[in-house]
């Protein structure tokens, strides 16, 4: 039995609105299935499930806004017995029971005074767990769920010793074969009334928050280089002549692939700045900025861009761009990017000075490919030139590293057949 929770679809997401369930109790699901639509400031996201099993219970009704981490459904993992509903009382743990049964309690011998109406549970915010910082840290390390720990500190605060006791009890409980399912949390999640569906304004606010944070916290440095695209474009033209119109490649996939390759050469730019240190990411997920016609932008992640062929990258773009414009992205696509690529060449912009999307540490800007005079080997010619820029976080890397990246990007674009 496990809980399917409201996912965090970005570092700035605090709550999401469950829009629609794609499954109902009894349905079988497997890892990767889209089981719900969730609306966030970034749009409606299709949320995937990460395990195989059967939907046991739905805990949150559509059009309910709940904080990140709130249990949305209970999934019975395959092989586990169907849980008796008493084991996981719905009303106790979720906000789905919007209309609690308000029944005046009549006690024997007392005049039947009408008790004051009980406020619906949505009005009561969930009480924050009182736990010391050390207790929280220790609980995370030991895998102890603080909601199941009895605090003995002031006002019932959970302290280190309480966590240690709970961990010891957990260890002891693991030994018997029929391990009891840990009791569900008693505290109902705080329910937030869905905000007015002013999606545009919310997206603007989300972008504002991220960009303001970026400019406030990230000491950007910028590097730019001009890249001769003649070899790449010649190769692309020859390649496209062999293909049907549907299968043709756009120059941008070459650029995305070259960026991914360059990140393989200079991995320091592929990661996050969190807790005052650079946390390198092994997988290269390129966030590709896509502007929306009505304003705003969405940055879906192209997963493992370095491992995908040009055809696969093209397929990803064909798949993802219409979905972005329709506001239907998958949860893993909006949260995973390890670097961002902004291509404003379509608009005729020649040089892009980007603002890094925190906690990423770099943004690659691509301008329009324009014909320009180009001197090489003592000869002047006209070449298609692309200006590529790097905006990078100076806390994480220095200009030398950034320069190596642009140099590597150029090198890969000079050998398009190898991309």
């Amino acid at each position: 039995m496990s809980e399917f929770r409201m996912p965090s679809l970005g570092t700035d997401m605090e709550a999401g609105t469950l829009i629609e369930w794609k499954v109902k109790p009894g349905d079988r699901v497997k890892r990767g299935d889209i089981i719900a639509d969730v609306e966030t400031d970034k749009g409606i996201i299709e949320v995937e499930v990460f395990e195989d099993g059967v939907i046991d219970q739905i805990l949150v009704a559509p059009d309910t806004t709940v904080p990140v981490g709130t249990a949305l459904a209970v999934i019975r993992t395959l092989g586990a017995p169907a849980g008796p509903s008493a084991e996981l009382p719905v009303a106790e743990r979720s906000s789905i029971a919007a209309e609690p049964q308000v029944q005046p309690r009549l006690e024997a011998g007392r005049p039947a005074i009408q008790p004051p109406p009980v406020a619906p549970p949505m009005a009561a915010p969930a009480r924050r767990l009182r736990a010391s910082p050390l207790a929280r840290k220790l609980a995370a390390e030991l895998g102890v769920d603080l909601r199941n720990v009895q605090g003995t500190g002031p006002d019932g605060a959970i302290e280190r010793a309480d966590v240690e006791r709970a961990a010891a009890a957990m260890k002891a409980a693991e030994k018997p074969t029929a391990a009891p399912v840990s009791p569900p949390s008693a505290a109902p999640p705080a329910e937030v009334k869905p905000a007015a569906p002013d999606f545009q304004a919310r997206m603007r606010r989300a972008i504002a928050a991220a960009m303001a944070r970026s400019n406030r916290e990230i000491p950007h440095y910028y590097l730019e280089t001009r890249i001769d695209m003649s070899r790449a474009l010649r190769w692309l033209e020859a390649e496209n002549q062999k293909r049907s119109i549907k299968e043709r490649l756009l120059p941008v996939v070459l650029l995305i692939k070259a960026v991914a390759r360059a990140l393989g050469d200079v991995p320091d730019l592929n990661g996050y700045w969190i807790d005052d240190r650079l946390q390198l990411q092994e997988a290269i997920h390129i966030g590709f900025a896509i502007a929306l016609r009505q304003g705003g932008l969405v940055i879906p992640a192209i997963h493992h861009a370095d491992l995908k062929s040009l055809d696969e990258l093209m397929a990803v773009l064909h798949d993802v761009i219409p979905r972005v414009r329709a506001g239907r992205l998958r949860s893993s696509e909006v949260a995973d990017a390890t670097i961002t690529v902004t291509n404003l060449g379509d608009l005729g912009v020649e040089v892009v000075y980007g603002v890094i999307y925190p906690p990423q540490v770099a943004l690659v800007g691509l301008g329009k490919i324009t014909e320009q005079p180009w001197a090489e080997n003592g000869m002047l010619g006209i070449r298609p030139i692309l200006t590529a820029t790097l905006a990078a976080d100076h806390r994480a890397t220095d200009g030398h590293r950034g320069g190596q990246f642009l140099e590597s990007l150029n090198r890969h674009l000079q050998e398009p057949a190898k991309l």
Binding site: P133, L134, K137, T152, G153, E159, R160, A161
Partner: protein, 333 residues
């Protein structure tokens, strides 16, 4: 103390006098000036006998004008001397606050790094002697606010003997705060005891359950409390800060990381105190090691009462420390 070292018995006052005497002997540029330091032998008898030994050129009585003689000390320091200026008590240092803050602490900066001020100012501080509000202030935490100064608070006889020379060696102004209740404290010191550092806090007593961070006279209240608590099975670590500026935060952060609980005992008033600063540093540097909120035991925020029982009630006391620590560790020892 190591075996084979001859020990001498002396008071804090005598240790301080020995420190001045040694400095005068070692360096001709050193001289002492202040109110009544010469013929009277110092208000707290620290400089008794030094006028006879070193003469009126080097042991100088000054007029009752703190601003004037601190300013003169600054000028002498700029001119190449190594003055020790005694301000009778911290209460009167406020008359020289302009010289201390605007000149001593600032001239190095204002002169673009041309003039260091190798000045040492000694002053008595603290309450507990029934001399009423205007003579009982404990303001070393105030001075610790000021960049450009070093603020040291010798609590032990060893530090009373050792900190002065190191302070004189420092190229910039150092303020030495001597708690008035310590002058009569007697103890043993190695006969060959010499200078001590003025940058490090010292772990006086090692323990695992809670860290008491303190300085100056409160150190002994903390140690007394630690003894009492040990009888109840509570193992207390006691840190003497020794220097309030710059703060040796590495030492107390390491201790808090070990014990997970911190109490600060500070004779200053609580609001805006050095205790507040230490608490903030713990929050910044050891938040995830804390198992309960940092506690502070400071003086009551009142003008110091004259009546003995009220004065004692206003000052931090060992019993308060014991009660606070017990509340913090209550169920988890």
């Amino acid at each position: 103390m190591s075996d084979g070292t001859a020990m001498v018995k002396l008071t804090y006052r005598e240790a301080m006098r020995e420190a001045i005497r040694e400095a005068m002997q070692r360096d001709e540029r050193v001289f002492l000036m202040g109110e009544d330091v010469g013929r009277y032998g110092g208000c707290f008898a620290v400089s008794k006998g030094l006028l006879q030994e070193f003469g009126p050129e080097r042991i100088r009585d000054t007029p009752l004008s703190e601003s004037t003689f601190v300013g003169a000390g600054i000028g002498a320091a700029m001119g190449g001397m190594r003055p020790i200026v005694e301000i009778m008590t911290v209460n009167f240092s406020l008359l020289a606050a302009d010289q201390i803050l605007n000149n001593a602490a600032t001239i190095l900066h204002m002169s673009g790094g041309q003039f260091n001020i190798p000045l040492v100012i000694r002053m008595a501080t603290g309450g507990g002697r029934q001399v009423a509000a205007q003579h009982s202030h404990c303001l070393e935490g105030w001075y610790a606010h000021i960049p450009g100064l070093k603020v040291v608070t010798p609590a032990t006889i060893e530090d009373a003997r050792g900190m002065l020379w190191t302070a004189l060696e420092d190229p910039d102004p150092v303020l030495i705060f001597e708690n008035v209740t310590l002058y009569g404290m007697a103890g043993e010191l190695a006969a060959d005891a010499g200078p001590t550092d003025i940058d490090c806090a010292r772990v006086h007593r090692s323990g695992r359950d809670v860290t008491i961070i303190t300085y100056s006279a409160s150190l002994f209240k903390a140690l007394e409390a630690a003894e009492t608590l040990a009888a109840d099975g509570i193992d207390v670590e006691v840190i003497d800060l020794r220097t309030l500026r710059p703060l040796d935060e590495a030492t107390f952060l390491a201790s808090v990381a070990k014990t997970h609980r911190a109490v600060i005992v500070d004779e200053g008033w609580r609001s805006g105190s050095i205790a507040a600063e230490i608490s903030a540093r713990i929050m910044e540097g050891a938040f995830f090691d804390l198992d309960c909120p940092v506690e502070r035991i400071c003086s009551a925020e009142v003008p110091m009462p004259y009546a003995k029982h009220l004065e004692q009630a206003a000052l931090p006391q060992a019993e308060t420390i014991v009660a606070t620590v017990k509340r913090m560790v209550r169920s988890h020892v």
